[in-house]
């Protein structure tokens, strides 16, 4: 498949897949709690409704940042699925997250302020691990380019089991799931009202939701990279990872930010860095 075709497919299919996954998530979570749960298409209904709602802002510029958050998340995924440089993808992802944080800061409400601060802490927690994952993939495939990593003949998981587990840990943070849903929980009623998204309503909130769909598809795409030589297995493991994340969300209570930061860095050092050290010793 040509990179342009992949890119186009991503731009069109990612929000659909992401939305369905979000609907599946809500339904499955409900079943785990012995409830019936909303219809599968619920996230789409929500976004359509939000799009028609009045847009209340504290400062008008806050929505400008959210627009860039959405565009940069799409850009991140586009780089990834077009087979570009993994490092560039990581930087684009960071930039997107920073725009989200700036938007929340701009709203200058104590809740979104605290949510933004926690978001920054979460970024500090997952960034090292994400970078180490990219480095580990480079060490095996001798390339940072996604299309070369994906078409590498060996299964990366055998060389990078520690990095895979570590990446799974960061996924819990990126998906905003318990025990790491500090900045903004998917479940209502938390101590920060709605954390980082508190001051966003209407279209801005819809854009945040759509950005999460794109982001989730991109992150599952990264999981697929570990199994690039066996596509069917890769897709299956990606979905299994998503199920695992939902299960963890329903099983765990939320951690304090200190615990998140410490544990994420510990995981990054032991599983991530350890995996890379072992890799460089036994080659």
């Amino acid at each position: 498949m040509s990179p342009w075709l992949r890119l186009l497919l991503y731009l069109v299919a990612a929000p659909i897949i992401g939305g369905l996954l979000a609907g599946f998530d809500r339904r499955l979570s409900a079943r785990m709690q012995a409830r019936q749960g909303p219809p599968l298409l619920q996230p789409f209904y929500d976004v359509i409704k939000l799009w028609q709602k009045e847009n209340i802002v504290v400062r008008r510029s806050q929505n400008f940042y959210i627009l860039f958050f959405l565009l940069l998340v799409i850009f991140t995924g586009a780089l990834f699925f077009a087979g570009s440089d993994l490092l560039l993808v990581i930087f684009a992802l960071t930039l997107a997250a920073i725009f989200f944080v700036l938007g929340a800061y701009k709203a200058s409400s104590p809740y979104s302020f605290l949510g933004a601060e926690r978001e920054l802490l979460q970024m500090m927690a997952y960034e090292p691990m994400v970078l180490l994952t990219a480095i580990g993939m480079y060490m095996v495939t001798k390339s940072f380019h996604v299309h070369e990593i994906a078409s590498h003949p060996s299964l990366l998981i055998f060389a990078l089991p520690g990095l895979f587990l570590g990446f799974l840990y960061t996924l819990e943070i990126k998906f905003r799931k318990s025990p790491f849903d500090l900045s903004c929980s998917h479940h209502a009623h938390q101590e920060l009202v709605r954390g980082i998204t508190t001051e966003f309503s209407g279209r801005a909130l819809a854009m945040i939701e759509i950005a999460h769909w794109y982001e989730n598809v991109f992150l599952l795409g990264w999981v697929y990279l570990f199994f690039g030589s066996m596509p069917a297995l890769g897709v299956a493991v990606s979905l299994a990872v998503f199920l695992f994340v939902i299960l963890a969300d329903n099983v765990f209570a939320r951690l304090k930010w200190q615990a998140v930061l410490k544990s994420a860095w510990l995981v990054a050092v032991i599983l991530g860095f350890g995996n890379i050290v072992v890799l460089s010793l036994f080659r």
Binding site: Q36, E54, R60, S201
Partner: protein, 347 residues
Amino acid sequence: MIGFRQSPWILHYDASSCNGCDIEVLACLTPLYDVERFGVINTGNPKHADIFLVTGAVNEQSKAVIRNIYHQLPEPKVVVAVGICAGSGGIFRECYNICGGVDSVIPVDVYVPGCAARPEAIIDGVVKALAVLEEKQKAMVAMANSIDKTLILRADKSDAPEILALQKVAYQSEAEIYGDDSLPALQQTLEELEEDFTHMPYRTNTLAVSRENSDPPEVNLNRIVFLKAVVNGKIIGSIRGYTVDGTAYISRLIVHPYFRGRGIGRRLLQEIEKAFPHAKRFEAYTGHKSKRNLEQLSRLGYQTFKTEVFNPIITWVYLQKSRNGEHPGTNGKPQPVVAALGSPANQ
């Protein structure tokens, strides 16, 4: 139209309930009733909510909170009063601290009876509210399309909360220009705004008559004109004017950010000029960096005649114009206007 019917997000507020209805509201979320089947989410955030669920009678302390939350819900929104106390005050109706049902503060769309209201009844009420929500959404779309049908009406004291909420939203752009939240309009409280309907604003420092007095003088109400711009029942703009000795002092021209650039501000200014038929001279002021306001006023014939440092960040620019389009003297002093006016009722 898909959307509103499938995704009602609820904000639940306990006005002064005995907790009976609150528990039943929460019971709706449990596996037995599971309102999430209908896409209902119980959010804790008014800015994300569509349906405002209030339980309990309203007391003097929760009154202001209810009003505040109501104005934070984005349109379209629906209010559901759950339980008999929220409907009418119930058995607490006669209590010294109770002002009655929720409808004594904000408009209520659906009443759910019961003491306590049963979960089935609450769900039924929410479903009824959805129909109202959909209707309101259609009305809102119509409103966006009928902006040219904006009505300019006299505001009264009961509009104060809505105008205050609008003022805080509208002045955010000014706060951003100056990087400062200390603008008087942003600091105004509800009581102060209500006073603006009956008193000369002593903070408007051009009003020489009241500058020396610590208490704002109560004046003949005919000297005060308070206008609102209304589209389909919602206030989207407002302006205040006071007349002293033939000069009309115009202040606080506000338009909701969503409706700016569509001539609402110009219409408000023109209407308030008409509302002072005997004023010979009009005076307005704005911050020195507020380019939009200055352009708006100069397009309508206002000219700068003096500036005054308000604080290190803001300098007020005073603009004036005379009735017939000629500009009064710009020597920095308002021209003495002979009070050859008609009856006070027209003043």
